[in-house]
């Protein structure tokens, strides 16, 4: 956050505006990785269009010595390389900030601002002179700005060079041109400006235990370690890279050493209806199986999700949420499928949901999701979102315990089946609410007919009221009873807390930062991050113990608040909705804007908080219908 007069070392944000499809992603990744390797807490947000080439795209980097990883809407510096976004890019810089632009052609004078410093570098011209070929020139312009920023922000050039060496180890020609471009940018900035700027970096030791990874990669890794063998999917943003990465991991770790054949099967289905069907078919057969998708896919899968619930077939579904409704904004983030997934499909259904907050949790929860699906013989959703899934996060290293025993749930072996007088699929013999199941092909005595139509506890077809009710009531108890086995909420308490805040998933960083800023104003907040549905008992207790409770979420209709109202006894008016649904990752500003108006005198204390200036206000407008909605509905 911008604090005038304070030390800005390792505490600022910058933004790079380019044209999508021109190779800027690798330059931006290089910057992120270099800062990460300098040991400084850093987060990057890729704000990209649903397009292959030619539209504006941005990459936002925030460095925070305090470890605040949420998006900030206040940019201290912008690199603007896209004529169509230059006006917006310049307007967004905070007063006192910097604009780096390509001075190969004159900047429109009407865009100049008195309160920011313009740093023109003839990037296009330099690349034309130094490199051959249109494509190389375009690509090297990206690397050139890495060099400029390295000088301006004091990025360790040895780290940058090291990264380039790793990347182009086997392509010496490319390495040479990359080195040259970095040097050109660096030297130009050194010669013409007086770097470093007050916004500068200084090595820290805060990321040594971390990796830089996106959530889809982490979830794919979780599927690998969960022992998933059958994966079915239909391509959809922002879930596609989950399967891409699973495929890549399988290529590396799942080849039969003798034959070179695959110890996995990935099927690209004709649509999401088929994808979930394949998952159910494979799970019914005893494989661990999953499908990654996004909201539109869940809509299409709903009928089979109900089948999974009622016929009690395990399934793991990753819903990487993007903005809805309908096609919505496919490359923008939201938490808009909470209600959809909690009750997907017609009839009385309720599903287990897990809410990872970062890539590390995507890994852990992916592994856990398979265990839960097997244990409770039902569909389990992992609800991440575009922000977690597609942005690189500095997050704790993933670890594996070799003594881990995967919980395959209640599957009978052939011998166990033989020992029975008779097998009945849905008979709850020991009041565990979960019946035993058999796998096809194992034992003729274990055969049963799986159906989505009315069935008795013995597995037979029925249209009898009592027989029907007996089974659906047990399933309801089974799902409700799963709450104690799900990831428990994380509680962050402060002494003398006056308010409570609850949130799920990727809202975590923004909420934690907002709580720190509230504390600066003298407002203490307890925070509970809910990690699963059905809710753990402690969720209801937290709501009972706090008044008011702010429910922070990234959707328009307060879906988390609705679920809390449905599932706990807390009075609705005690839960104050704080929402942001403009599609950009949540920032602490959004949370404070929603909370502060409700605090009255309580929130007026404290100083040193420089509220959003013109640029921040502009950012909120850019986010479309981004103004946080406040007030009880």
């Amino acid at each position: 956050m911008a604090r005038s007069g304070l030390d800005r070392t390792n505490d600022f944000a910058f933004k790079i505006g380019t044209v999508n499809g021109t190779g800027s992603a690798s330059a931006n990744g290089l910057l992120m990785q270099a800062i990460f390797r300098m040991g400084i807490p850093v987060s990057g947000k890729n704000i990209f269009p649903s397009n292959i080439q030619g539209l504006p795209t941005w990459y936002e980097v925030r460095v925070s010595r305090d470890g605040h990883m949420a998006r900030t809407p206040r940019f201290d510096l912008t690199v603007t390389l896209n004529p169509t976004s230059v006006e917006q890019d310049i307007a967004e810089v905070v007063p006192g900030g910097y604009v780096v632009h390509d001075s190969s052609w004159p900047l429109d004078e009407s865009l100049r601002r008195e309160d920011v410093t313009f740093l023109g570098v003839p990037m296009g011209q330099m690349c034309v002179e130094a490199f051959e070929g249109a494509r190389t020139r375009i690509l090297m312009k990206n690397i050139l700005y890495v060099g400029i920023l390295a000088a301006l922000l004091d990025i360790d050039t040895e780290v940058v060079k090291g990264l380039l060496r790793e990347k182009f180890e086997r392509k010496p020609k490319l390495l040479d041109s990359n080195f040259l471009a970095v040097k050109m940018g660096y030297d130009y900035a050194k010669e013409h400006f007086e770097p470093p700027l007050p916004l500068r970096l200084e090595a820290m030791d805060e990321t040594g235990d971390c990796v830089l990874m996106d959530g889809n990669t982490a979830a794919a890794l979780g599927c690998l370690y969960a022992g998933a063998t059958v994966a079915a999917w239909y391509p959809i943003t922002p879930a596609t890279s989950l399967m891409d990465r699973f495929q890549a991991f399988c290529e590396g770790y799942r080849k039969d050493p003798e034959t070179g054949k695959n110890l996995y099967c990935i099927i690209q289905a004709e649509d999401e209806l088929a994808a979930i069907g394949m998952v159910l078919g494979a799970s019914w057969m005893g494989a661990r199986s999953f499908t990654p998708t996004s909201g539109p896919g869940i809509s299409l899968m709903s009928e089979f999700i109900g089948f999974s619930y009622y016929a009690e077939i395990p399934a793991v579904i990753f819903d990487v949420q993007r903005t809805g409704p309908s096609t919505g904004m496919p490359t923008r983030t939201q938490q808009c499928d909470l209600l959809l997934c909690a009750h997907a499909s017609h009839g009385d259904t309720k599903h287990i949901l897990l809410f990872p907050a970062d890539p590390s949790e995507c890994f852990k929860m992916a592994v856990r999701a398979f265990d839960l699906a097997d244990r409770f013989q039902t569909a389990v959703f992992v609800l991440s979102d575009l922000d977690i899934a597609m942005n690189d996060w500095a997050c704790p290293r993933m670890e594996w315990d070799d003594s881990y025993e995967h919980d395959r749930g209640r599957i009978l072996s052939s011998d166990q089946i033989d020992a029975l007088d008779a097998f009945h699929r849905y008979l709850d013999v020991d009041e565990q609410e979960v019946a035993t199941r058999t796998l096809p092909g194992v034992n003729p005595k274990g055969a049963y007919f799986t159906r989505g139509s009315g069935h008795t506890k013995f597995g037979g077809y029925t249209e009898d009221s009592d027989e029907y009710v007996e089974v659906v009531d047990r399933i309801a108890r089974k799902i409700a009873g799963s709450a104690d086995s799900l990831p428990e909420p994380i509680l962050v308490s402060r002494p003398e807390a006056q308010i409570g805040i609850v949130a799920v998933g990727s809202s975590d960083g923004a909420v934690r930062e907002a709580i720190d800023r509230l504390a600066e104003r003298g407002v203490q907040a307890d925070y509970m991050r809910i990690r699963a549905f059905p809710f753990h008992d402690s969720v209801g207790a937290f709501l009972e113990d706090h008044d008011p409770v702010f429910v922070v979420e990234q959707n328009r209709d307060a879906q988390l608040r609705s679920l809390l109202t449905l599932e706990t006894n807390v009075p609705q008016e005690r839960l104050v909705p704080v929402q942001y649904y403009g599609g950009l990752p949540l920032s602490a500003d959004h949370v404070l804007d929603g909370v502060l108006p409700h605090l009255g005198e309580l929130g007026e204390g404290g100083e040193g908080e420089e509220r959003a200036g013109g640029a921040a206000a502009k950012a909120a407008v850019d986010a479309g219908a981004a103004r946080p909605k406040v007030g009880a509905s």
């Binding site: 695959n262 019914w284 494989a287 993933m398």
Partner: protein, 352 residues
């Protein structure tokens, strides 16, 4: 209340047993609840016979279906097989996933004309495209039975519903559809011709890859009247067998009695042999384009062309295409699937 009806377990001591010591009764299921005289029950009987004769252990088969009268029938055969009654039109997805997980079982999918050609048309086409190792039976009666007699997508132009309404939309023919998108085994038969149907089902079950058998199966309640083109009478009158088939298991080949001059054989994946009796001269069940032309021409003349119409002997099925191991994936222990802690630590270094 309709219940799951079990058949009485009375066995005639003289019943023939197959080499597994099982009788035909061991391949049956519960009592049918379909209308008396329904063509589907004859198909159930033929399926039972085919599995008995092929000597497949019932629990090594998986039977799947969608929704509709046809899709109820897996309850009526193979009582010792796992069954899966999926949602409407989505059986191929379940079969694909199940087969992906366990390539060792025999997969039989039963569907109807509504389930296959309307709501499930896309799934049918893509299962063909993937060449899933599956016998896909279409019990085709041209009508929606459970919802009381609406035309299905296989209803012929000019055929009339029980209420006298004439169908004017062109039908989707499962045989021509399957031929056009590359199915590797295509046959058509008639529920009333068990002598033809059983060998075709046996050949189809032995085929490696996707085998579709379209079986005209009259609906006695809604589509067996005079002005229907899917009635018993109409089908018998217009029945046109082009290729008869015999199925010769590997062990019996040497002693099989056949007229060498009139037949031709195709070696199946498991070593068994399918022998063709060509009723029509010059008919080649391995020439996809010629078969397509022949069937569509006779169809235009109102003939119901039956027999083992097309077969492609050696094709890559879904597992060949996707390169999976021969061991069923469900049989792989976790040790072979989970790379372990050292691999993960090493991998983490590449994300620094």
């Amino acid at each position: 209340m309709v219940k799951h009806l079990r058949k009485p377990e009375v066995r005639h001591p003289g019943m023939r047993q197959n080499s597994l010591g099982l009788t035909r009764r061991d391949y049956e299921g519960s009592m049918s609840t379909l209308c008396a005289g329904c063509g589907h029950d004859s198909i159930t009987s033929a399926i039972t016979q085919a599995f008995f004769e092929l000597e497949i252990p019932p629990h090594r088969a998986a039977k799947l279906s969608g929704i509709g009268c046809s899709s109820k029938t897996p309850a009526y055969f193979l009582g010792e097989s796992h069954g899966f009654n999926a949602v409407h039109g989505r059986m191929p997805a379940i079969a694909s996933g199940a087969n992906a997980a366990n390539c060792d079982l025999i997969y039989l999918g039963v569907s109807g004309d509504g389930d296959s050609l309307s709501i499930g048309l896309g799934q049918l086409c893509h299962a063909i495209r993937r060449n899933v190792n599956l016998l896909y039976v279409v019990e085709n009666n041209g009508v929606y039975g459970l919802t009381k007699g609406q035309f299905s997508a296989s209803a012929d132009v000019g055929t009339k519903s029980k209420r006298g309404v004439e169908n004017r939309q062109r039908p989707i023919d499962p045989v021509l559809l399957a031929l056009s998108i590359g199915a590797s085994f295509v046959a058509r038969s008639f529920s009333g011709d068990k002598a033809q149907l059983v060998p075709i089902l046996k050949a189809a079950l032995t085929h490696k890859g996707f085998a579709i058998v379209d079986i005209i199966s009259p609906c006695v309640t809604f589509n067996d009247h005079e002005s229907s083109t899917k009635s018993y009478v109409h089908t018998r009158e217009r029945y046109h067998e082009v290729v008869g088939a015999d199925f010769v298991p590997p062990a019996e080949e040497i002693t099989a009695d056949y007229d060498a001059g009139a037949t031709e054989g195709i070696r199946m994946h498991d070593g068994s042999l399918v022998r063709f009796h060509k009723v029509e001269e010059n008919y080649d069940p391995r020439d996809r384009e010629a078969v397509y032309e022949y069937v569509s021409q006779l169809q235009n003349e109102g003939e119901v062309v039956t027999g083992l119409l097309f077969i492609e002997d050696s094709t890559d099925d879904m597992h060949d295409i996707l390169g999976t191991v021969d061991t069923p994936l469900v049989d792989l222990p976790m040790e072979r699937l989970v790379p372990g802690s050292d691999a993960l630590s090493e991998l983490m270094e590449s994300f620094r």
